[in-house]
Symmetry: C2
Subunit: 539 residues, 2 copies
């Protein structure tokens, strides 16, 4: 058989040659920018030449701090197809974390949205490896202190666009993302061309996302969040119309874009589904969302009430999946198996609240506390261990690898059951993490910081249910003297991104412990899920 | 990323664990055999142990001469997952060709259907590498002269079924098929685990065959014909219900199976679609084929009238694809792009008679006579050159490789145009081959043999349209003395399979030639497409 490495440029070949007339649409203030995949392909080559001109060589990292728009999407193929590594950075992180990530990844060039310049200017002194900043716009805004700094459009202008991307091995790195873990600094995951191509095929399969040419795919999930589920790659390969929300989108914006562009599929965090619903209900006019067949909501399990609301409002289905940055991200997808075709609505919901069956090539085990295999009986609860050609085998340059990657399997930290017919159903989600608006908050980092406060003896942070954000952190404090909520909030606000800081606190004589002396978060979660219980123990 | 070789056992893992309750159904005389993918997985392991017991080691070839049934399907995973190479042999070939193929491949074990025993007994003396024969049944029929010979079920009985298939590199050979070429002996194509897994993903994509769990897939295409388009692998990976027609199926049998098993999708040669239609029209009762949504007809382009008949009779769609043994086989698929959604029936047919757009990872070029690239303008006619991770880079152990594989591209020998939006449309199909009932007939082999006849000066064989077989060979003869149709038929019948032998002959003063002195087959085809023209020049 031919030795054809699985390279991202093969997907781009299809986008350009077979779907050269299909469109990529970006919301602008007061209108839309739109061009074709043929235009897009030419610009990815111009971007590659521009980066080459800045000294970027195969294997070099190119970071992005950007919203979802066509220029950011150009980096998705332009950077890896020239041999570079696209490092998408979560612009919602705390500046300290962003500096850590850029340095740890060794980014040589940063592509930055104009509105992110103040953030980058503040950090610039601490960025050890960055040699050039590129502003994603027509010109460099006057007055920026960044040096050297270029305007994206000026860099691309007049670059050649009709040459062929180079050929290299499929195990070459293509991208990287950082994930917040339970302990300490963010952890990096390095994707390869091979893993990304295989994951893209996985997304486009029947009974998976089934990305196809007829889709008008509205990408609300940030492109810095696990590659926006890898959907930008799938859209290009399959020729879907890609619709991007642009900078600073708001819930009402989403509704307008769906209406304007007749989006058939949209993808975002569960919180996005909630906020859109609230915007519809609070609006003075009706929105025509009838084009929207499917709304994929990720980050955590969408509540059934939300699924029902969307079904009623616009006949929109919310299928589920399960994934993580370490897995590119998708591992399972809730295709409703044909045996449920004749089932009652109630029975179908009982299946649809599960996270689905493993994708082809993704294997899963249910692991007990002593590392033993547990049966797929829908009752035994264990931790999921996974492996696939698109799951990481290690964190990038990180000693914490050993704990998560055991005998060739990635221990996900997620806990649940597996049904006899392969449906994965998370019952406890992730043990220690809090997931707010689809983004991780590390409880352990908050705890460590709180316990460093002179008036705090013990601190355990758990997730509590929240209607808008799905989960918010609750800090359970054993005080060492006189301390209150306001003081701790002020203390944490100086150290963490705003959305990380808990607004709810309870004060205890002692944090309950498990047999091995660890905080018993399961007990805390059970106790404080009820707002009334929290009110009792506030000061 | 994890180093997870793309092995067929990963697809089997999914079939067994996720779709363990789904069924594989085989038509038997007077009933059906049925079991689950869980049962199937256990038997593939028993088969592997049985073959191991016969001395089969990694890399060894295991040949099959068999119809489409569950035992043959067990070899599809059982042989390659243990490291062996599954060599499916076309049981309709002339015995001489079968002997050549078995020897050329070096098959060590042959799995043979009971009805094929007389054929194999006749050949046994000439099979140089075969060390054991296995009869695909409960017992060995008494009186066979084959030695050593075993019964499949006796070999499998009591073998362990709960062990894990070994891990090895994805470039290991998994299967092989032989294709008849324009010149001389059949040519072998060796598939690898990697190529087969990637092709299976390709078949299961949205806008491709889209093989999925809900399909009830009736596999009429022989499992010795380019791996039955690779669909058995896709069915297992995706958990489709697989329906197999068993031994010696006939057109009426197909109709009964579709009716009995409520098949939703069926696949076969164009001739099968014609014969089923004729069987429906000649039947004394109506057949309920309402379950059949899709009928894939391969081998050559289905005539529009046939497409319309099926649409009218059972609301069955006939999409097209294009492929070949050298390409695993699928390269293109006619997904109707969304821009045709509002098109008239007439416009849609104009697209649907084309062979479709390249699958992801499959690249295509249109090559002119001097090797130059021709534009995709829907007008320029050239030869298709292709490459994909599932196309061959050489024929197996064959010097004819150099001619077909040029600069990393496979020259398909097929000729046509490519539209600006990537639709491939074959205008001249294959230059020299005749395709009868979906099977190749080598015109050059027939010509060489005819010209060896003492009373024949020149012989050119071309394909002429045939309502049932799509094409039949016509022999255009310049005689050297007194010779007639009957004599030549008798002469060829001793040398070729019955269906290869032309029944129509025309006798000419001279076969027309091209500028370079070759037979001008284009001119001959144009002249003799009309039966009246042929009648005039018969004797």
């Amino acid at each position: 058989m031919m030795d054809r490495p699985l390279l991202l440029k093969r997907l781009l070949w299809r986008a350009e040659n077979v779907f050269g007339d299909k469109e990529i649409i970006t919301r602008l203030p007061g209108g839309y920018h739109s061009y074709t995949y043929a235009d897009y392909g030419r610009r990815t080559r111009q971007l590659a030449k521009a980066l080459e001109g800045l000294g970027v060589r195969p294997g070099d990292r190119v970071g992005t701090l950007a919203w979802n728009h066509h220029r950011h999407f150009e980096a998705y193929f332009g950077v890896p197809c020239m041999g570079g590594v696209l490092h998408t950075i979560n612009l919602r992180l705390f500046p300290e974390q962003i500096a850590f990530i850029v340095n740890h990844a060794g980014d040589r060039v940063l592509l930055v949205d104009p509105d992110q310049l103040p953030l980058v200017e503040e950090l610039a002194d601490r960025l050890e490896t960055v040699e050039a900043f590129v502003v994603l716009g027509e010109t460099v805004p006057p007055g920026t202190s960044l040096r050297p700094v270029y305007a994206y459009e000026e860099l691309l202008a007049d670059r050649p666009s009709d040459w062929e991307f180079p050929e290299f091995g499929e195990d070459a790195a293509s991208g990287m993302c950082y994930t917040s873990g339970t302990t300490g600094d963010p952890k990096g995951v390095l994707y390869t061309h091979r893993s990304t191509v295989l994951h893209t095929l996985g997304l486009s399969l029947q009974d998976s996302f089934g990305v196809g040419e007829a889709m008008r795919l509205f990408l609300i999930t940030p492109m810095f969040h696990a590659n926006a589920w890898g959907l930008p790659f799938a859209a290009a390969m399959q020729g879907s119309t890609l619709i991007l929300p642009g900078v600073h989108p708001e819930p009402r914006t989403y509704l307008e874009v769906i209406e304007d562009q007749r989006a058939t599929h949209a993808v975002g965090a569960v919180t996005v589904g909630v906020l859109m619903r609230d915007a519809v209900e609070g609006a003075e006019r009706a929105y025509d969302l009838s084009s929207l067949d499917v709304l994929w909501l990720g980050g955590q399990a969408p509540p059934r009430g939300l699924m029902e609301w969307w079904k009623t409002y616009s006949d929109t289905v919310i299928p589920q999946g399960w994934g993580m940055t370490e897995a590119s991200p998708l591992l399972t997808y809730t295709a409703l198996r044909s045996k449920y075709a004749g089932a009652s609505e109630e029975e179908r919901y009982r299946v649809r609240v599960k996270q689905g069956i493993p994708l082809p090539l993704a294997e899963i085990r249910l692991v007990g506390e002593r590392g033993e295999d547990l049966p797929w009986d829908g009752k035994s609860v264990g931790e999921y261990a996974v492996r696939a050609p698109w799951t990481a085998r290690a964190y990038y340059n990180d000693p914490r690898t050993a704990k998560s990657f055991v005998d060739g399997w990635f221990r996900t930290g997620d806990v649940g059951v597996i049904d006899p017919d392969g449906y994965v159903h998370l019952v406890d989600r992730v043990k220690d993490l809090v997931k707010s608006g689809g983004e991780w908050i590390s409880s352990v980092e908050l705890e460590n910081s709180l316990m460093a406060h002179p008036k705090v003896a013990e601190a355990a942070v758990i997730g509590i249910p929240d209607e808008t954000w799905m989960e918010r952190p609750l800090a359970c404090i054993t005080p060492r003297g006189d301390v209150d909520r306001a003081e701790l909030m002020e203390y944490l606000s100086a150290r963490f991104a705003k959305w990380w800081v808990p607004t709810e606190y309870v004060f205890l004589h002692e944090v309950p412990k498990t047999g091995t002396g660890k905080f018993d978060k399961k007990a805390l979660r059970a106790r404080y899920a009820d707002p009334a219980a929290r009110r009792e123990e506030r000061r």
